[in-house]
């Protein structure tokens, strides 16, 4: 058997995830998720999972090597703490997509709401639409590409993550500044867009990152927080 199907209207998420943690085949189809939480969380091998419908909280959380595609929307915490692999969603993602993720690629073809990439630690996130306020808050490493607009507070208290935005940016967060787009940045942006399957002219993007003024707390900067 090449592929296995789980219909969540008749099977539990627990049964699905137990199989994904000890997989007997390479690819899986998941039907009728109906907003269930923790769908395909904790994958630690190279399985492929296609989820048909909207998912709830923490879908594909902690993914380590899996390739998860959601044909629908996702609630809070999509691919949170991903280590490696790919998570793709054809619709919109709710808050805190890609939170604290260390690696892998998260593609959101629609838009993401607030706090996308909060505390990201090495993941690459590509958003086809826009992101809500406070995205990349305390982002430490990785790249966040936003093909639409970014809400207020982008990159607040950011460390070394690189942010690329094609559309409008609201008020920048504390210590986040626009930076020069050099050739190496255009090259990595082109790679990320290609990996996500999105076609945009890289010259339309601007780059943002840390001004590195808030790495250490000093009293003269207290007004900047």
């Amino acid at each position: 058997m090449e592929s296995m199907t789980f219909d969540l209207s008749t099977t539990t998420v627990r049964a699905l995830n137990a199989e994904l943690h000890d997989p007997s085949v390479k690819s899986y189809e998941v039907l009728h998720p109906e907003g269930a939480h923790a769908v395909a969380a904790g994958i630690d091998s190279g399985v492929a999972v296609d989820v048909h419908g909207h998912v709830g909280y923490y879908c594909a959380g902690m993914n380590d090597g899996g390739s998860v595609t959601v044909h629908g929307n996702a609630a809070t915490g999509l691919a949170e703490n991903m280590m490696s692999g790919t998570v793709r969603i054809t619709g919109d993602a709710s808050q805190s997509a890609g939170a604290t993720a260390h690696g892998g690629l998260l593609v959101i073809e629609g838009s993401a709401s607030m706090r996308c990439g909060i505390s990201m630690k090495g993941v690459d996130i590509v958003v086809g639409g826009s992101v809500g306020p406070m995205s990349a808050f305390m982002a430490q490493a990785g790249r966040l590409v936003i093909c639409g607009d970014a809400g207020d507070g982008l990159g607040d208290s950011i460390y070394e993550a690189r942010l690329y935005v094609r559309g409008r940016v609201g008020e920048l967060g504390a210590d986040c500044v626009e930076k020069e787009m050099r050739d190496e940045h255009r090259a990595e942006l082109a790679e990320l867009l290609a990996a996500a399957g999105l076609e945009h002219d890289v010259t339309e993007f601007r780059r943002y990152g840390s001004a590195r003024r808030l790495y250490h707390f000093t009293s003269e900067h207290s007004g900047s927080y």
């Binding site: 929307n73 709710s94 808050q95 306020p133």
Partner: protein, 289 residues
Amino acid sequence: MCGIVGLHLRDPELYPQLGRLLESMLCGVVERGPDSAGVAVYGDHRRVPEGHAAVSVLLPPDADTTDLDALVTTAGDTTIVAAPVPLETLVARVRESFPTAVVVGTGHDLTVYKGVGHPRELAATYDLVNAQGWQGLAHTRMATESAVIPEGCHPFSVGPDQCLVHNGSFSNHASIRRELAREGVTFDSENDSEVGARFVASRLAQGEDLEKALLALRETFDGFYTLLVTSADGFAVVRDPIACKPAVIAETDAWVAMASEFRALAPLPGIEHARLYEPEPGRVYAWSR
């Protein structure tokens, strides 16, 4: 954590199914609030016939309602009293007959049910699946700020045909409570959400619409909130400016619905073609009949 669901029907053909739809939505947020549940239904002519006023009330045990000269329905801990008299007359009659009773809802179109226990079992005591009407909302509660008693359940209904349900907590409710008290507003509980409901009621009483009242609330209240507020003809949603608490809205030609999570919307007819979105932080969304 709490769970909120609400359904505002546009297609009158769905009115007979309101209770069944609302019950299935309520079951989708049970895990968010397993300790109690409250429900409000607008337009349930089984319990509030046309031309009647209705009072929803938590009566003391062994209360004898035979002298009320009204249509009386008992549903779990809640009693619905309806009569073809002016609303103020009916409210006064209930309060006079049962001075210790807690009135949890009043209006010409509104029934409110409250109780402590598993939401699914409570919905059965309310006979929610057989309720009909044009609008309804429900709340499952995981209490954080006050006691787990029927009086602490949402919705808070403090003005005629008005309801407010809240997921979150207000942080400056004590000072707003004092200001409202100075204006003569009285309170039934120590609950922070009741302060929100009283604030909205006082704005509506001054002639504002739901949207204006909620914009004023946003400017006045500090804290975490997703609110669903309903009136005799309206349905409105607002989240705090940093959107601490979840909400999803779905719209079709036949209905507008909101819930804390998508899984509560999943059972609705036509959900696969609904316009689905998250309400933006601090923005008021309002619909009316």
